[in-house]
Amino acid sequence: MKIAYYPGCVAQASGKELDMATRWVCRNLGIELVEFPNFSCCGSGFVDEANEVLNIAINARNLAIAERAGLDVLTICSTCQGMLTLAKVRMKDPVVRARVDGALRPLGIEYKGTADVKHLLRVLTEDIGLATVKSKVRRPLSGMKVGAFYGCHLLRPADEMQSESAEEPHAFEDLLSTVGATPVDYRGRVMCCGFPIQFVKPSTASGIAGRQILDAKAHGADAMATPCPLCHLSLDAYQNKAAKEVHASLDMPIFHLPQVVGLAMGASPEELGLSRHLVPTDAAIAKVHPSAPA
């Protein structure tokens, strides 16, 4: 399949390993990523707080770029997924639509609302299908217990995200099982990572991240995996701060979603950028049964 690749800011900068893993997995599955150097940042939820209509217009412009090429959009970040989808939903309001169209039309940009916005999780589970993913698995991750961590904006608000059930999602767990890992059920999987207030009140933000990691750990997780690079920053890059806030040692490896899939499909740790994590992932990978059938 062919899709417009919307990597988002973080995967092009500090979260480069997410971009690397996405490209590896998509190449392996025959997903052609079409790149658009004119995509802008989605506003990450912050621009939405400062000026809602501006945020919608910026994302309507992004969507129009994919529409012109006749492609759906692939996101690899829960927040990008949320912001682009929210723009589509808000553009159904005639008052909003008129203001945004008024800003876009003089630039020769026409927003139609025809492009679908799909996170990699959905592309893998629905478009490619779990059977095809399974057929590419070379090194099943059996023995590794993984707590899926969805990221708020992939799920909520459920009626607007048109996501699967926000309270009881299972697509990520289904994917983890498909690549041989054992998904861990814990309350924190649908909770918040704390990232949005990391600059407003770091102690509270890290306390929230720490609680989710502790929860996953209490339920036996060897690692956590997330479809959102902002969650990854909060859970991995700031994990030392989270540990301090919850007064516990955490040592929880945090994977990006395509890294888990890539590992199972036989990618090397280098190809997936695993050395770029703050918390080493070796202990989790060591849990994989070496005798697991190829």
């Binding site: 707080e49 600059f199 509270t204 703050l278």
Partner: protein, 324 residues
Amino acid sequence: MAAETISAPFDIYRFRPGIDTKPRYQRYTLDLTPHTPVLTALLKIRAEVDPSLSLRYSCRSAICGSCAMQINSKSRLACETHIGPEVERHGRIVVEPMRNQPVVRDLVVNQSPFWREYDKIEPHLKLDPRHPMPEGKATAMTPAQVDRFKETPRCIACAACYSACPAVEADPGFPGPMALAKLYRFVVDPRDSATQERLTRIQPNGLWLCLRCHLCTEACPKDVRPSERIRDLKEMAVSVQGATELGSRHAVGFKENLKGAGQLNEMKLVRQTMGLTGMIGQIPQGIKVWRKKPEIMKRPRPIEGLDEVEKIYEALDTSSKEPE
């Protein structure tokens, strides 16, 4: 014809503070039809099996808001949660008291923290004494003005949102979704004279601690959508007060940042939010991250078509949205 019953295992939180050393979960298994509400099952347990089970309820019709509790980790009303789907998804029904409020006994919590935050926002009209309403017209509003309340008047104060909120859990100083949704209702009320004061007073350690995780909107049994009204309050707060708080500085800083290259400049955003002095405190963590992810220092390359983004800003980022 009677509906078929299913065997429903309940694990119910039991705790008597001051008597029990720690909480325990008690298992009761009942044969019930799948459409039985959890509340009905709890009352049956209390009537037929264990009269010592404590819970709070009243109307049994999702109107009074008394029976909010955690059912399989989700904060919801027991009277409108049916057992069938819960047993199907989880194999059992774990019933616990709401979070973020101290347990009085079993499923009953002390709601004082929730009501304290509600009182703090002064949930009553502050009419402008210089503009008294004409006799008998004190409540007159146009339908369009009433529409601005959006869904907020539907709130039944059940506290499910307060129980579900991770910001409340980690920071008891946060007012919580219900109080903020109620604040919104008074801020947009055309008869209220304290709009600016309300928006100013809520900002430190209040408004900007909302994570916009939307867990409140998901938990709300009346679709009040608190997270969306909190977003509205943030935009109104920026328009009346500018970027004076860390939270508003971050939101406005991000908006300005995006205009620069069309892509986020991570380092610049830290400076925009925290200022140069605030950045100093970030240096030790920054170095740790930079060692593994040197790109945090890199300036992004401007996107193609940046002029389009600039023009969109020119068109839509001029008029600040004043609360009416």
